[in-house]
């Protein structure tokens, strides 16, 4: 812009546009889930969770919207229900710390939170298997579902 508003309202980013910071276990879990360090629980059911990245343009928006509505199971966002979830979480945290060159503590410490809050790319770090399961499930779905209309 050549001219900005006198009150700088158009330059300062409105709070609503600030990314939510990683501060607690919940937001950390979302981060680890999104970037592939945590696998969705009941992966069969949640095979097409919202963290899956469609693999090419041939997937229609309708398919993906349907997937988003299913989303990761809510059980992930509440308090841990059993010890296996706790170990999954700390194991995922440990792997993230290891890859990021942080002290591997398995705890959501300051250094880990700072690293999680860095600007980064939205592509998952670990998605090899996800892609495969995604592709196979989608291909099956395609054969079963009604003909897909290409919407971009």
């Amino acid at each position: 812009k050549i001219f900005h508003s006198r009150d700088h309202s158009d330059v300062e980013i409105a709070p609503s546009h600030q990314a939510e910071l990683i501060t607690d276990r919940d937001t950390a879990e979302q981060f680890l889930l999104k970037y592939g360090f945590l696998k969705p629980v009941n992966s069969e059911k949640a095979q097409s969770s919202s963290t899956d990245m469609p693999t090419d343009a041939a997937i229609s928006l309708e398919d993906t919207v349907a997937f988003v509505q299913e989303g990761p199971s809510s059980s992930r966002s509440g308090t841990p229900e059993n010890s296996s979830e706790i170990s999954d979480f700390s194991e995922a945290l440990r792997e993230f710390q290891r890859l990021s060159g942080l002290p591997v503590t398995g705890l959501l410490d300051d250094a880990t939170r700072t690293s999680m809050n860095k600007p980064r790319c939205g592509v998952p770090d670990k998605e090899e298997k996800l892609i495969e399961t995604l592709e196979s499930s989608l291909i099956e779905k395609r054969h079963l579902a009604a003909p897909v209309r290409k919407i971009r």
């Binding site: 980013i13 546009h17 990245m53 469609p54 090419d56 343009a57 890859l99 860095k118 790319c121």
Partner: protein, 410 residues
């Protein structure tokens, strides 16, 4: 059309010229459209310089025919399934073999701005994803998931180059000529030192090859017209450097003519210190040598120029200024194969004496044959004089000499 079955890190485009476009409804509100397109053009070029892929900005075809579409957006954007999260954290994402989205809530800046997030660096990273590369947690890799503020001169390192070449193969191609350009320079203490740089020429562009870094100069290829003044702008047949105690002359050959190059002033002579006017006919300067030639080199051991044409080689005695006795001879005779049948036979692309390797190489197509040298003889006396060692691929010796799309040539 665009996919190959396989796993993350193994899928790739199945064609070598890819089109891209910054889509109209996805312009950033922070940078001018020209700045955005300039940065993306540079980002694609950086991948083109290290892979056989070429990228062309296409502003005209229907959008669904464009291979890679780029756009900016905030929150829910461009029909994408993945919302952006506002300023901070996620600044961009890419879809396999397809689109790249940038979060316009981030403070993207053009190169050399210093602050903000370098759009160039993020674009190169996301294009890496589109080409099929996963995240890598290796320091120095452009494919690290987190943004690392760095000086604006970042480049694709060796392993990033190997990763993209693992998917798309190395850069192969024929060369018009290859040579070491030798020049004398004075140090700050007034000493005269001799330096050389290695150049590969192909049609109307060239690369400077940095032997110590095993790669071409960052940003190459460059147009011959830009870098070499006064010589033919394309299709040079040969470069010959006659270097004796009394003579230090560099010549470019093309067709039936040749030019002498003025190293001091970095341009071709129109009249050299001896009063010769250029360009000159090859038949005048080198009587008995046919034109055009395929290639040529000067051998300091016997002070002869070897001109190659078809399956023959013409030895020219520089001191006597005439063809040596017995010329021409068959290339297979003068440079016999060591492995039966492993010989370029005729129509060489380049005969290149490398000061780095202290060896002569004969190049043809994508292969080269190294000529047996004195050191080889010391190790194995039975080797024939000037014998050709078995062929190897040029891109296994000189790395990343890659074309770029003609629209991005400087």
């Amino acid at each position: 059309r665009k996919r190959a079955a396989g796993k993350w890190g193994h899928m790739a485009f199945s064609k070598s010229v890819l089109t891209w476009r910054l889509i109209g409804e996805g312009y950033s509100t922070q940078l001018s459209v020209d700045e955005q397109r300039y940065v993306f053009r540079l980002a694609f070029r950086m991948w083109s310089e290290v892979s056989p892929l070429e990228f062309e900005e296409n502003l005209y075809s229907p959008l669904e025919e464009i291979d890679i579409r780029l756009g900016f957006g905030t929150g829910r954007h461009l029909g994408c399934v993945q919302r952006f999260d506002g300023a901070g954290r996620e600044f961009a994402h890419a879809w396999f073999l397809g689109d790249i989205h940038f979060d316009d809530d981030e403070h993207f800046t053009v190169p050399n701005t210093g602050d903000g997030i370098s759009l160039l660096k993020v674009a190169v990273h996301e294009i890496g994803h589109v080409l099929g590369l996963p995240h890598v947690y290796r320091t120095g890799s452009i494919m690290q998931p987190s943004y690392r503020p760095q000086d604006s001169t970042f480049e694709l390192d060796w392993l990033d180059r190997k990763a993209v070449q693992y998917l798309y193969g190395g850069c192969k191609g024929r060369f018009s000529t290859v040579f070491d350009w030798v020049r004398k320079e004075r140090t700050q203490y007034g000493e005269v030192v001799v330096r050389f740089s290695t150049y590969f020429m192909r049609d109307d562009w060239y690369w400077l090859y940095e032997n110590r870094n095993n790669r071409t100069r960052y940003g190459d290829p460059v147009s011959v017209r830009v870098g070499w003044h006064g010589i033919p702008p394309a299709g040079v047949d040969a470069y010959v450097h006659v270097w004796t105690r009394r003579t230090d002359a560099a010549y470019f050959f093309k067709g039936v003519k040749y030019w002498r190059y003025d190293n001091e002033n970095d341009q071709a002579f129109s009249e050299d210190p001896d009063g010769q006017h250029y360009p000159r006919l090859i038949s005048e300067g080198f009587p008995g040598v046919p034109a055009p030639i395929d290639t040529a080199y000067y051998d300091r051991r016997d002070a002869h120029i070897y001109f190659f044409r078809g399956s023959m080689v013409y030895r020219f005695d520089v001191r006597a200024n005439q063809l040596a006795a017995g010329s021409p001879r068959k290339i297979t005779e003068l440079f016999p194969p060591i492995a039966r049948g492993d010989h370029p036979v005729s129509n060489l692309d380049a005969a290149y004496f490398s000061y780095t390797h202290n060896a002569l190489f004969l190049l043809k197509g994508t292969s080269y044959w190294r000529v047996v040298g004195n050191r080889d003889h010391r190790l194995k006396a039975s080797l024939p004089h000037n014998g050709l060692l078995p062929r190897r691929e040029v891109d296994q010796q000189w790395f990343d000499i890659c074309d770029v799309h003609v629209s991005t040539l400087k």
